[in-house]
């Protein structure tokens, strides 16, 4: 709980964060930037869980526990994605989206 800050303000921030992530995922041309956008989405939900837990249901810790698991899984996901990107980079020397379009339609 932060004194002077209501839950609406924080949830507005997380919603904005979420949509920045979705926008970035769609518009970015670089695989690493897309990965960062996905992280933004995941972090928006992490903050959501913690804030909802703290403001609305402070007697249980379900949201906080959930957020720890999300962080751990997100780390695993990023590691795997980066390793695949590195493998791709070894073959085509590029991490641009326009270069991974050999399969289409």
């Amino acid at each position: 709980m932060i004194p002077g800050v209501t839950i609406y303000e924080i949830l507005t921030v997380t919603s904005i964060l979420f949509f920045i992530g979705v926008y970035g995922f769609i518009t970015r041309k670089n695989l690493i930037s897309i990965l960062i956008s996905v992280e933004l989405i995941l972090n928006a939900s992490v903050i959501n869980f913690v804030v909802i837990n703290k403001y609305l249901y402070p007697d249980m810790l379900q949201g906080v526990i959930f957020s720890i698991f999300i962080i751990a899984v997100a780390a695993a996901e990023t590691a795997l994605a980066v390793s695949i990107i590195i493998n791709l980079y070894r073959q085509i020397s590029s991490v641009e989206v326009k270069d991974i379009e050999t399969m289409k339609y």
Partner: protein, 475 residues
């Protein structure tokens, strides 16, 4: 809670033991005998499949996080059978291409980990366990999709899969946080009691649905499907299209029929429109495909649209027909992928035009492929017809006549492109047909199992009655 109560996790414990045994085998089996890893893994998993059919009692553990009942137990066995057939039809590929690079054991470990995640996903009793199961079932498959590390399209399909699955799980998590905000709990049983159709709950449910719709590759979320299937090794494409899709359909069904049941007036409209879009787009795009893997990818999108016809009902009949259809779909699609796998392994050819004149050189393979495609299309004597027929009956019994009409239109469209392949195999002549070859034991065994499934499952009605009886648990 005693040590005995862990026995309800028998599937999970056994599979974990197999994974650990394979790790030990990787360490202790010498380099020149690595071929035996494939036999060992198939043998152990076959044993696990057989043991999996033994009955189990209904119970829940870990404060309700993990629960099981007869239907869930049965579905885990169905997934086991699917994976076993899949291992049989990919054994050749593994021995020729993968074990020779000394990467055979990882394949099994990753695939079994993914199956392990699916067990937890379909047994989940809260959103945390569900999320962990979903991720554990998705991430190893991304690694497997990029398994041909020397091939560019394999890496491409891996990165496409992991990025879009990460987006889907992120969106799904955002939805879960909204459901948590309105209900105050992440446990399904607590949510059922307090859930009410408020705006925030609806938004949460829709976002959550989107995450699972990605796994099933329903239409607005299907863009990854064809690319990933084409680039990934064929075993992984069939795993994605059969096992992964089946498990996701099952958990989506459980959640819609139990937790989100009070919102049925909201989600039935969503499912209705998505079913229409999925069937039409899947079928129309399949018409123009030449590559067999892409063709099967779009056909599997269309099949997912048919499954939604059972999902829209929310009744016991719907549950039974979905489980029954998924069982048949596993057999028919694995047969089709098995033939594609064996031809691709022998000749490296994957295009529809390469199949011309196949009947003259390889009559048995052509017959298996024909049965599989007839079953997917739903032509009467084979099982696929009964699966589709029951799905349509379920939807019609709830009054969705227009939807059933469009589904039948789609069956006709799909018949056209399935018969294109059959025509290429049986009627066309080719100057350079695929030469005759003999499959080895595992591949033949796998294909025979699928053919038995296609021929018997539809006609053996006690099976459907049994599934119907089990399905009463969710209603």
């Amino acid at each position: 809670m005693t040590i005995d109560s862990f026995l309800i996790m028998r599937h999970e414990i056994l599979l974990l033991a197999i994974i650990l045994l394979l790790v030990a085998g990787e360490i202790f089996i010498p380099e020149n005998k690595k071929n035996s890893m494939v036999h060992l893994a198939i043998f152990l998993f076959g044993l696990h499949t057989v043991i999996g059919f033994l009955p189990i009692e209904e119970d829940s553990m870990f404060g309700g996080s993990f629960h099981t009942n007869d239907l869930i137990h049965f579905f885990k066995s169905v997934l086991n059978v699917g994976v076993l057939i899949l291992l049989l039809i990919s054994a050749d590929w593994l021995q020729e291409k993968i074990v020779s690079q000394n990467r055979g054991t990882e394949f099994f470990i990753l695939m079994f980990s993914s199956l392990f995640g699916m067990y937890f996903m379909i047994s989940a009793g809260d959103f945390l366990m569900f999320y962990l199961g979903l991720e554990l079932s998705t991430l190893p498959v991304a690694a497997l999709a990029a398994y041909n590390i020397t091939k560019r399209i394999s890496s491409e399909s891996g990165i496409k899969f992991i990025l879009s699955s990460a987006l889907a799980s992120g969106v799904s998590l955002f939805g879960m946080s909204m459901l948590y905000a309105t209900s105050g709990s992440i446990y399904f049983n607590d949510i059922i009691e307090v859930i009410a159709p408020s705006n925030l709950t609806l938004l949460g449910a829709v976002l959550f649905f989107a995450g699972l719709a990605f796994k099933i590759s329903l239409v607005p979320f299907h863009f990854w499907t064809a690319d990933v299937y084409e680039g990934a090794p064929i075993s992984i494409a069939s795993y994605l299209s059969v096992i992964s899709k089946g498990a996701a359909v099952f958990i989506l069904m459980i959640l819609l029929f139990t937790v989100l049941k009070p919102l049925i007036h909201a989600w039935e409209n969503i499912v209705y429109s998505i079913a229409l879009a999925t069937m039409f787009i899947g079928n129309l795009f399949a018409l123009r495909q030449q590559n067999m893997k892409r063709f099967l990818a779009f056909s599997s999108i269309a099949q997912a649209g048919f499954i939604l016809l059972g999902l829209i009902t929310g009744t016991q009949l719907g549950t039974a027909t979905i489980v029954y259809f998924v069982l048949i779909y596993i057999c028919s699609n694995l047969a089709a992928f098995g033939v594609v796998q064996s031809i691709s392994l022998q000749t490296g050819k994957e295009n529809m035009s390469d199949y011309e004149g196949l009947y003259r050189t390889n009559p048995n393979l052509s017959l298996v492929m024909m049965l599989a495609l007839f079953s997917l299309a739903g032509i009467p004597p084979v099982a696929g017809f009964f699966g589709k027929f029951f799905l349509f009956t379920a939807a019609a019994s709830e009054g969705y006549y227009l939807l059933v009409f469009f589904a039948v239109v789609n069956v006709i469209i799909s018949l056209y492109y399935y018969l294109l392949v059959v025509r290429a195999m049986f009627l066309r002549k080719s100057d350079h047909p695929i030469p005759f070859f003999k499959n080895n034991l595992y591949m033949r065994l796998g294909l025979i199992l699928t053919v038995i499934g296609i021929l018997v499952l539809g006609l053996y009605s006690p099976l459907y009655d049994y599934i119907y009886e089990l399905s009463s648990v969710f209603n």
